[in-house]
Symmetry: D2
Subunit: 344 residues, 4 copies
Amino acid sequence: MIRFESDYAEGAHPRILEKLILTNEEQTPGYGVDIYCDRARQLIKNLCQKDDCDVHFLVGGTQTNLIVISSILRPYQGVISAISGHINTHETGAIEATGHKVLAVESEDGKITAAQVKAVCDQHHQDAGRVHKVQPGMVYISQPTEYGTLYSLEELTNLSRVCKEYHLPLFVDGARLGYGMVSQINDVWMSDLANLCDVFYIGGTKIGALFGEAVVISNDAYKQGFRYNIKQRGGLLAKGRLLGLQFETLFEDNLYFEMSLHAVKLSMQLRQAFTEKGFELLYDSYTNQQFPILPNDVLEKLSKKYSFTYWKAIDELHSAVRLCTSWATKEEYVEQLVADIKAL
Amino acid sequence: MIRFESDYAEGAHPRILEKLILTNEEQTPGYGVDIYCDRARQLIKNLCQKDDCDVHFLVGGTQTNLIVISSILRPYQGVISAISGHINTHETGAIEATGHKVLAVESEDGKITAAQVKAVCDQHHQDAGRVHKVQPGMVYISQPTEYGTLYSLEELTNLSRVCKEYHLPLFVDGARLGYGMVSQINDVWMSDLANLCDVFYIGGTKIGALFGEAVVISNDAYKQGFRYNIKQRGGLLAKGRLLGLQFETLFEDNLYFEMSLHAVKLSMQLRQAFTEKGFELLYDSYTNQQFPILPNDVLEKLSKKYSFTYWKAIDELHSAVRLCTSWATKEEYVEQLVADIKAL
Amino acid sequence: MIRFESDYAEGAHPRILEKLILTNEEQTPGYGVDIYCDRARQLIKNLCQKDDCDVHFLVGGTQTNLIVISSILRPYQGVISAISGHINTHETGAIEATGHKVLAVESEDGKITAAQVKAVCDQHHQDAGRVHKVQPGMVYISQPTEYGTLYSLEELTNLSRVCKEYHLPLFVDGARLGYGMVSQINDVWMSDLANLCDVFYIGGTKIGALFGEAVVISNDAYKQGFRYNIKQRGGLLAKGRLLGLQFETLFEDNLYFEMSLHAVKLSMQLRQAFTEKGFELLYDSYTNQQFPILPNDVLEKLSKKYSFTYWKAIDELHSAVRLCTSWATKEEYVEQLVADIKAL
Amino acid sequence: MIRFESDYAEGAHPRILEKLILTNEEQTPGYGVDIYCDRARQLIKNLCQKDDCDVHFLVGGTQTNLIVISSILRPYQGVISAISGHINTHETGAIEATGHKVLAVESEDGKITAAQVKAVCDQHHQDAGRVHKVQPGMVYISQPTEYGTLYSLEELTNLSRVCKEYHLPLFVDGARLGYGMVSQINDVWMSDLANLCDVFYIGGTKIGALFGEAVVISNDAYKQGFRYNIKQRGGLLAKGRLLGLQFETLFEDNLYFEMSLHAVKLSMQLRQAFTEKGFELLYDSYTNQQFPILPNDVLEKLSKKYSFTYWKAIDELHSAVRLCTSWATKEEYVEQLVADIKAL
């Protein structure tokens, strides 16, 4: 079985394992105050072209989302998210478990617009009975989105402007950030995120690390006490250096972007193969995820050799599936699948 | 600087890194349903001599404590713990953040007794105004305790009996379980824990793993929905196999106990050195932690070469410190320190 | 200004105030264990034709909803509700503040169907990745709904059957229960609720009491510890007898239903006036709330003399408003408004 | 049975009932924005000699404590309280249910000192591992305390100074505030509380109201969004005017203080009777609660005619009990009890 079902099916990039071995016997203080974390933090600040941000390392995405969001909101506030946002669909109510409602707004492509955010806020603040409603307290978006789509710099700038206008912190979930940054249609760089958002994170788990997400806090207002929050939610890794040395490896030689590029190139080959064969795509993704709509008999046939994520039924005869490529996807696997698509 | 401040200063046992490398390119499904997790689960069930328990793998201790405890208690219940229990002192209110009070009971040696648990319950249930009080809902203990002490089989059996009598689940935090099991004074084995407790966990982070804790749920009543809880609290590792293959390595050849024994032997050498030199020990530990009471000038002198955890001031001239040995502690480091103690 | 904006604009039925005065100097124990609460409990059990239910008295509706729901759900579970349900729209995230997601399902008329509940559950339980989703844990409906509509006995029976099939407790918010029971189209009685639901409540605040909601727990599984939950959430009234004597007054002579009937008769007069004048109704309500769609200039004109709740814009020229009648609505007020509608 | 067990055994002062009757048919907007609430707010601001404070009306004490505290603390912070504080002992973990630990400090007399608060803060902030601990985030005290004792103006001023120094908001639970203010040893007035505290509340439930507590927020930092918090926790009374008109009645003619004085005079008669008879008092109370230590046979004898709150066993032969007087306590009841004590 060749797995295209996720971008976390393998271990880590060999250079990360090498670094683990090389440093294994060193003694360091725990909880992320070691030299590897320090170095990784500086590399990330450099990438952001911003030295006055705080960088924290966490283990996974749901953990990161719940810690960031609960650290920012007042008790009566909720977080605006696309209805398809990871926090609204795939985190078992992790945000609600910290006491906050996800204020889901409609989205066809996984993105939300500045106008939508403005509308939610206006509706709330113009409502005479607003104390009976959850107050919008921040905005959560994913870059790339759960559908593989990307915010353009213009869209992100507009969102950021509306957020500032309504005093809403903007938080970007970058679980697959690298796969977005190397996309041929991307024009949002790390420094843009650092400038336009209050908090964002750079995903490691899905891009070459064993695990790990790097949270970047640009806005001073949300820096205070963040490590307490990490500890309280069970996110403070004892051997914190494991996170530091992974992110050091990812960013000291552009490995993060090289791996991302590898995945996205292969994803574009899959995209081309599906469209050339006449299959429609559910979402218009130029990143590492593709969502072809396949006849069910085709799907059944391909599923004997390849694993996908079943996405949803389109009609009685067709289904959409998700295929992920990753830093670890072998070119020959993609070639095989492309050939099998052509041969259908 | 030679570090005795914690038992998580180094990476992992080389065999774990080897296994990581060996399996790195394999594709597995995520979230702990892979073959490595399955094998590790079976090894642990074998150790417990109990096949009908559930085994889950989590990343860290605070995470484990908050997930287990919040998965068991009803909203109005609290957890009985020694005042020195990790959940009461070193987890930034992680339990309270899930909505539950820690019902702390006095303890000199880090342990609580069956009689204390009985007293708390009797006091509650005999109180006419008990609905105004937090209802005792479960019991949390650590084996070994935060002070390095150990429950004997008799003590644990008594606790277990009282817990059953009052319908209180008993949960054992085994963050350092191996270091307890190999102690010369220990008579509590894995199968005893599986029989006498409702839930316990086997710590990996402090005993040779990069990270990881294995939760064993013996009581059927607490099995249902546990994976939902893990996910909701941000504890479901995407590359779950990393946990499985670590615990497989720890338990397939008794590596876990070999490493534990190494640490405890070295700890006993330190104990002997301190006592022979006439220093008192704050707690009577036969596990991998020692708590000597040192004159402040001695402490200052030793601190130039060795790092300890400052524990507390005893009087104006003396302080207690904590020294941990671990699976990774080098014998020559202990020899050096022993020599330096003798030479004082 | 004549107020039709809510059904809680006045104080309480005079007989309730009389009882307050009559009993004012009596000394009773606190917290709801007095003789008045006992009598009121028995009256409600009699109405339910069910002696083995528990009856608790709470102060308000949001308080009741959050206490009941958080007392039932496991941490990873959510509550299914119509998208228009009070808990989803008008309680400032009270349910989320206790840690639980509201699983909102579409609804045009304020009701949800057995088929919808079944669909949510089937979708969840057939999902291989369900531990990443909030598990449906109970069902919340309102009788009458927030739109003034009513579940028929057949609809409620179907809902109840599906709930039992999926082990989902069914909870009915009866904040306006009396106004539903006396409706000409109603066929659901108190004993039906006691039989078909696990928990429901009988609203007092909106039907003649100063304040107060009576929670009826039919299912033994949810009785245990309920008073602890009330206390913990700040809902245990010190002078609990105030609740008991109000509900005793409401139910000892059918006052509750008399008052409800008064309100609904007046509401039907308003309904008739609007429809005869050719105005459409947004929802088809036979209870104490009417939702006419009015031209904005008509609305402006009427608003000089009467207060309504603005509901929503229908188009640029029309808006829907809500009018409530209550136990306290004066007949001459309704006559005036009817005349003013006719004269438009 | 003559009840001395609590100060909430009766209804309300007759003038409050009169006002209820007088206003019963008036229509007002809901949720505390009516004319009665406005007037009551102004009366309280006048008493505080401070016009720029916010005044909110809530139903009960536990509700008030949990709303105020959860509205102020960041997630990782706890609230410092005397170990005997109501929030630590008699609220079923209401504070923990909002996610926060109560940081209990020792107290013999129900009070905590500025030095204790300073010590807790210093210990925390000097701790290198402080992110593993709950951060002290505010201070909770009761005036009078649960033991009937009072903070002097000097003690309160010192506490306030330390709180300001450590940026800790100071919150005063005044459930029995009136009974403290009229005490012969009191030198803390309403304006002192408004100046020295960030938030305090004036209890109505125990002093002549049917129910109700008036929260005064002096510090601008804690004003924002407070009504949202009230609603979210189920504390926003639909017929909010019931609270307004009660507090208007309490404060428009000094009724609050007259009633308090009545209770405290009677309490001092009881105090004198017990001490003259040679019984010791567990706490030195000059307010409306007395805590005599009685031989068990005396207690048994008195208990046939009078109800007390059993407080605790002192030794095998003696117990302490609590007696409360209130605004409603009849003089002849106290005379009878005094006579019975003398006759022992």
